[in-house]
Amino acid sequence: MDTTNNKHNKLLDTIDFGKVIVYIVIIIGCISMLIPFIWMILTAFKGYGEAISIPPTIFPKEIKWSNFKEAWTSLPFTNLYYNTFMVILIRIITTLITSSLAGYAFARINFPFKKLLFSIVLIQMMLPPQIFIIPQYTMAGKLGILNSILGLVFPGIVSAFGVFLMVQHFKSIPIELEEAATLDGCSRFTIYHKIMLPLSKSSLVALSIFTALFAYKSLMWPLISSVQVEKMTLTAGIATLKGQYDTNFPVNMAASFIAMLPMLILYGIFQKHFIKGIAFTGTKG
């Protein structure tokens, strides 16, 4: 008789309301993560008058591509992109090489002063970076590399954290692999080069991502190292806008968007690696 009621109840039974609430909360969380970005993009397409109108419009009534043109010319973006790219590239190369070499040696080789030298690595990790910055600035000045890419790269040529990460990684590789190679008469360097490195791909990727993000997000050093905006990184360049375009919000948002884009695109493509890399470096560190 009451077949429709029974069917209805069965459906309600299969819906787990607890789960539904969980999904809803998560989605609310995601939306609140995205809203600032979305609002930035929407504002970037609006004209100034519309952007500051009350009540505010959500979608731009008229798409002002000119904001992006103006934003693009407000900063020497080509230079900023190039500088940022070069800093990241150079730092990744130098950090990976120095960290993996030192990491392997600390993890697997016995040599005099090993404990003392490793304590240098640990000390650096405990100190806030700004404690080095004034002397680093003086040094860079004496070397004549201020206001240049080399200057931007300077403090990040080596990474104590990178060494630490690689030490942890190499320690986790079974020692039997090395012993076999040693019996074959391989030198330490050959072991490093032919055996250890190929096994280190995920750690090296994680370290690269960490180095890249750190270089990209860095503000204080590029700000003081480079006097001219043409010689700054994207992040420092954007920070200089806070004076001039302070009230031209749409252009400001357009410029911020242009500055964020490269890393966001990379992140979109390599999400898994980014997240795995940061979580990995976080949990191992």
């Binding site: 970005f37 100190l127 360097f189 503000l219 806070k242 964020m260």
Partner: protein
């Protein structure tokens, strides 16, 4: 490990690039900073030794005391907040959730954006007259809040931004910790009739506490070092900003704007000592609440 003769050579050779780099770029600058803190140095002429003058001035300075207060207040607001939301969403995502990958990607996204750019966006959002937050508040009848121009609101505003941007990172770390908790603990608790709350406090929290500890320690370190957000969102433009400066913003001002590098060095040493004390306290307190298997 058998020690071969070439080991000594290889060992030292392989660590030398990194170690030499660290000595030149970090150890020597650190020692320089310490010695600089006892000097007066404008960056151009030679430094002059002034003994403890910088430290005396610092401890007597209202500006520095206020800055320490602002920085600690900022840490107090942003660190637990970021950890809490990270944990909540980590717990929610730990379940069998479809689309976990996408959610994680979204939550983590602020981490790949430079704090300077994030600051620009939020500066606009917090705008007193045209920002979206004040508009939404006006709908529910709350008056405009001068987020970035009222001295007392500055630190909370920065804390909100920090919680928003660090939540994702904390989530990822805590999720990794949660996934190490064996399911059968929860199953056994269910059999015993434990409520979700009981399960959370008796199983989840203790077993995720090492990761939580890591999150709290690293968040605290980042909070004490806060500069980027303050510089971009406030900087030198707003007069009330000077009442809520973070310690490292003060450092930047003295070091590179006012060219008092000696005094600035004393300030950064102070920041370091505060950091050391807080971290030491956290490690001491760790024994009382962090549960290791």
């Amino acid at each position: 490990m058998r020690r071969r003769e070439s080991d000594i050579m290889w060992g030292l050779l392989m660590v030398s690039p990194a170690i030499i780099g660290l000595i030149i770029l970090n150890i020597i600058p650190f020692l320089n900073s310490v010695s600089l803190s006892f000097m007066e140095h404008d960056g151009l002429s030679d430094p002059i030794f002034v003994g403890l003058d910088n430290y005396k001035r610092m401890l007597e300075s209202k500006e520095v005391v206020r800055s320490v207060g602002s920085t600690l207040w900022y840490a107090l607001l942003s660190v637990p907040g970021g950890a809490f939301f990270g944990l909540v969403f980590a717990v929610l995502l730990n379940d069998k959730i479809k689309g976990k990958g996408i959610f994680r990607t979204v939550f983590f996204s602020p981490m790949v954006v430079a704090p300077a750019a994030i600051a620009m966006i939020w500066k606009w959002i917090f705008n007193t007259d045209f920002g979206i937050i004040n508009y939404i508040l006006s709908i529910v009848g709350i008056d405009k809040i001068k987020w970035l121009t009222t001295p007392n609101m500055i630190i909370p505003s920065l804390a909100i931004v920090t919680i928003w941007s660090s939540m994702g990172y904390n989530l990822i770390i805590l999720l990794a910790g949660l996934q190490g908790i064996p399911d059968h603990y929860y199953e056994a608790a269910s059999i015993d009739g434990a409520s979700p709350f009981r399960k959370f406090f008796s199983i989840t929290v203790p077993l995720v506490s090492p990761m939580l500890f890591f999150v709290l320690v690293t968040s605290m370190m980042n909070a004490i070092k806060q500069f980027d957000l303050f510089y971009v969102m406030l900087g030198s433009t707003s007069p009330s900003a000077s009442k809520a400066q973070t310690l490292l913003y003060l450092f930047y001002n003295y070091a590179f704007r006012m060219h008092e590098k000696g005094y600035a060095s004393a300030i950064v040493i102070l920041a370091f000592i505060i950091l050391l004390l807080i971290t030491a306290f956290q490690f001491w307190y760790e024994k009382k609440w962090v549960h290791y298997e």
